[in-house]
């Protein structure tokens, strides 16, 4: 747990910023030196296991209230003050509800599926920097770790669908897995630009690379053309990876009842619910790390606010964005979703890789200076924007869709 | 732990993989056996890299990476073949496949 070298600020702001780290150190120091790293680790795990489910609980109620507001209504507000205890009631209900295992189901796999899902998703938080020096497992290949873990959640979804022995479940699971595999490619490729620019797979290094400010504006990757494109692609792919609207086919599919967890009830269903939201939050966390400066402040003069506050603030904004999309958009069809992944997302993210490389070399060739910067910026933006427009138009034309006009009879 | 321990694990894994590949009738299971054998080899590579004298510091590790890549390619082509065969013959049974030969 070494302090970041670039961190020069002192006084109460830094204490507040590092408060959790300090607490962790103080507590660990109470133990014999052999156990200290373990105690620190366990404290970190406890922190993650306590904080993120709490945010999950908060998210469920915020989602319901937010959706409600978009739909001219209030949302849950009667259970506890402002409905804040709603998730507690839901949790008690879910925990005590009868757990049905269908007669024909494969009981062991049926039980393991939600457990595997939740464990895998929790593991994903191990390398997520939620604040300055606040990362549980500072490993070098952190981003790879996240993607590796993310890939294994597919297996649990398959297990859930297959073990239920219900054709809706199986079909839903197959769809979910196909969707997740397809969108993993653009997800990875869009993340690669940030890795490329930083030259590291470590989330901390990526955050650090976005740490500086030009004037008051930060050096976040999202403010570059390739970064913006990468971010947009990452968001879309993340929506699909986490089965959120408008890609929520596997579960909300109106012809497949409830997809792969149709046969789940009670506690196991709650675990799926938890896993889904935790997955959404973790992928949002990585999006923030990769493109939105992680725990960095958006303006230089706001840097006194603790880093973890910025991280969680951004996380809540991201969650709100997910909710906002859910409140607005209808759902795509499976084949359209696949088409979109392979014919739009993939070429765009490949192009974005090239543009990112070009950006790098253009920077070297053109040298510094406002003019050179502007040329580089405009050139990259033009290539990306132009391709976006052309590719989009081609997609619409191929599917023969577009606005229509209508005639009238008197 | 010693190198030998890892190598013994790898050897046992290899033997198991071989056993699966030799005894199972289902083509997919045979592929699984082959994958296990490849993995055993990988474990060897890594173990030797870890405990070996480091003349070439990364060779073993990189070799394992290449091996993983090749194994992935093998798996995809192999399973593709199995599916294609299944579509043709409606079976994944190797015994029956050989019976249909000719």
């Amino acid at each position: 747990m070494n302090l970041n070298a670039g961190w020069a600020s002192t006084g109460w702001t830094s204490t507040l910023d590092q408060i959790f780290v300090l607490v962790q150190h103080r507590v660990a120091e109470l133990f014999p030196p052999v156990l200290q790293p373990w105690v620190a680790m366990i404290l970190g795990v406890v922190g993650i296991v306590a904080v993120f489910p709490a945010i999950f609980a908060l998210t469920t109620v915020l989602e319901r209230k937010g959706l409600g507001r978009m739909q001219n209504r209030l949302g849950p507000n009667r259970v506890g003050p402002y409905g804040i205890l709603q998730p507690m009631a839901d949790a008690i209900k879910s925990l005590t509800k009868e757990d049905i295992i269908p007669r024909s189901a494969d009981a062991v796999v049926h039980f393991l599926a939600p457990v595997v899902l939740v464990v895998a998703i929790f593991l994903g938080y191990a390398v997520l920097p939620v604040g300055r020096n606040m990362v549980l497992m500072p490993i070098d290949a952190g981003i790879l770790f996240f993607f590796a873990i993310g890939a294994s959640t597919e297996l649990s979804i398959f297990m859930a669908g297959w073990s239920s022995r219900n054709k809706y479940s199986l079909l839903g699971a197959m769809r979910a897995v196909a969707q997740m595999i397809s969108y993993e490619v653009p997800l990875l490729l869009s993340a690669v630009v940030a890795i490329m620019m930083t030259g590291s797979l470590s989330p901390e290094a990526i955050v650090a690379a976005q740490g500086g400010f030009s004037g008051v504006l930060p050096h976040w990757y999202v403010f570059t053309p390739w970064g913006f494109a990468g971010f947009a692609l990452f968001v879309v792919a993340a929506l699909a990876e986490t089965n959120r609207s408008p890609f929520d086919l596997p579960e909300g599919e109106s012809e497949l009842v409830a997809g792969y967890f149709t046969e789940y009830s009670g506690f196991k269903f709650a675990l799926f619910f938890l896993g889904e939201y935790l997955g959404m939050m973790s992928i949002a966390g990585y999006g923030i790390t990769l493109f939105l400066g992680g725990w960095g402040a958006p303006f230089s003069f706001l840097a006194f606010i603790p880093s973890w506050a910025w991280f969680f603030g951004k996380l809540f904004l991201a969650i709100f964005f997910f909710i906002w999309l859910r409140g607005t958009l209808p759902r795509l069809r499976q084949d359209q979703l696949m088409n979109f992944a392979w014919k739009f997302m993939l070429p765009m993210s490949l192009l974005n890789l090239l543009v990112a490389a070009a950006w790098r070399f253009l920077g070297e060739w053109l040298g510094a200076g406002v003019g050179a910067e502007a040329i580089r910026w405009l050139a990259c933006a033009a290539v990306l924007g132009g391709t976006y427009v052309l590719l989009g138009r081609a997609m619409l034309r191929r599917q023969k869709i577009g606005p229509r006009s209508y005639r009238y009879a008197e | 732990m010693t190198l030998t321990a890892y190598l013994i694990v790898a050897a046992m894994l290899f033997a198991l993989g071989l056993g699966i590949a030799l005894t199972r009738r289902n083509a997919i299971l045979v592929l699984i056996g082959i994958e296990l054998m490849l993995n055993a080899a990988n474990l060897n590579l890594i173990a030797f890299w870890r405990f070996g004298a480091h003349a070439e510091p990364m060779t073993g590790m990189l070799f394992a990476l290449f091996s993983i890549a090749v194994a992935a390619a093998e798996a995809s082509v192999g399973l593709g073949l199995v599916i294609a065969w299944f579509r043709h013959a409606r079976t994944t049974d190797l015994d029956e496949m050989t019976r249909m030969k000719g």
């Binding site: 890939a151 590291s200 084949d335 | 699984i32 399973l79 579509r87």
Partner: protein, 184 residues
């Protein structure tokens, strides 16, 4: 001690998964126990300090190969328990005998083999170093692997390409580009 405990746990996990894959009758169960083996191996790699390889193992084997196997099983309608004689080939006794023999010989040989062995800490290899090695001395193998993967991808697509335009399988079919026309 700690290390030994970890090693034993991971080794048992790996081998148990492999044994289950060898003995279980339900193909999907076999595939799932195979993933246990893969996960155990990844943990072994991590315990050996090969972080990058371990993670790649998870990404490739659990994230891709295991899913592929599972899909292949479902596509060939192989899920569900099958009777033993449907699973084992005619000469399964001989097969196991051969496998056990090979295993025995290998283990016996390894037990006494005098390997030169450094007992130091694991060499620390950063991802950057791996990347530089791949781009430097190992550039050619990397290219070859790249070509191999491309060829394999194309080959797999061609092999799996249906004779008719529509695959029976919903998942693969959806990746087919053409949209169906409306009913006339």
């Amino acid at each position: 001690m700690m290390h030994a405990a970890f090693f034993l746990t991971f080794a048992v996990l790996t081998l148990a998964g492999a044994v289950a894959a060898a003995l279980l009758r339900n193909l999907v169960h076999c595939a799932l126990s195979l993933t246990v083996t893969f996960a155990g191996l990844a943990l072994l790699y991590l315990s050996l300090g090969a972080e990058f390889v371990g993670l790649t193992q998870v990404l490739v084997y659990i994230g891709a190969v295991a899913i592929l196997v599972v899909f292949a099983i479902l596509l060939t309608r192989g899920s569900g328990s099958l009777p033993r004689q449907m699973l084992s080939s005619s000469g399964w006794r001989v097969g196991w005998l051969a496998a056990v023999a090979v295993g025995f010989v290998l283990v016996a040989a390894l037990r006494d083999a005098p390997f030169a062995q450094s007992q130091g800490n694991a060499p620390v290899v950063s991802v950057k170093e791996i990347g530089q090695a791949l781009m430097g001395p190992f550039a050619l193998p990397l290219e070859i692997v790249g070509v191999l993967l491309t060829v394999a991808l194309i080959g797999a697509v061609i092999v799996a390409m249906p004779e008719k335009p529509m695959l029976e399988n919903p998942v693969l079919k959806n990746q087919m580009p053409e949209k169906q026309g409306g009913a006339e």
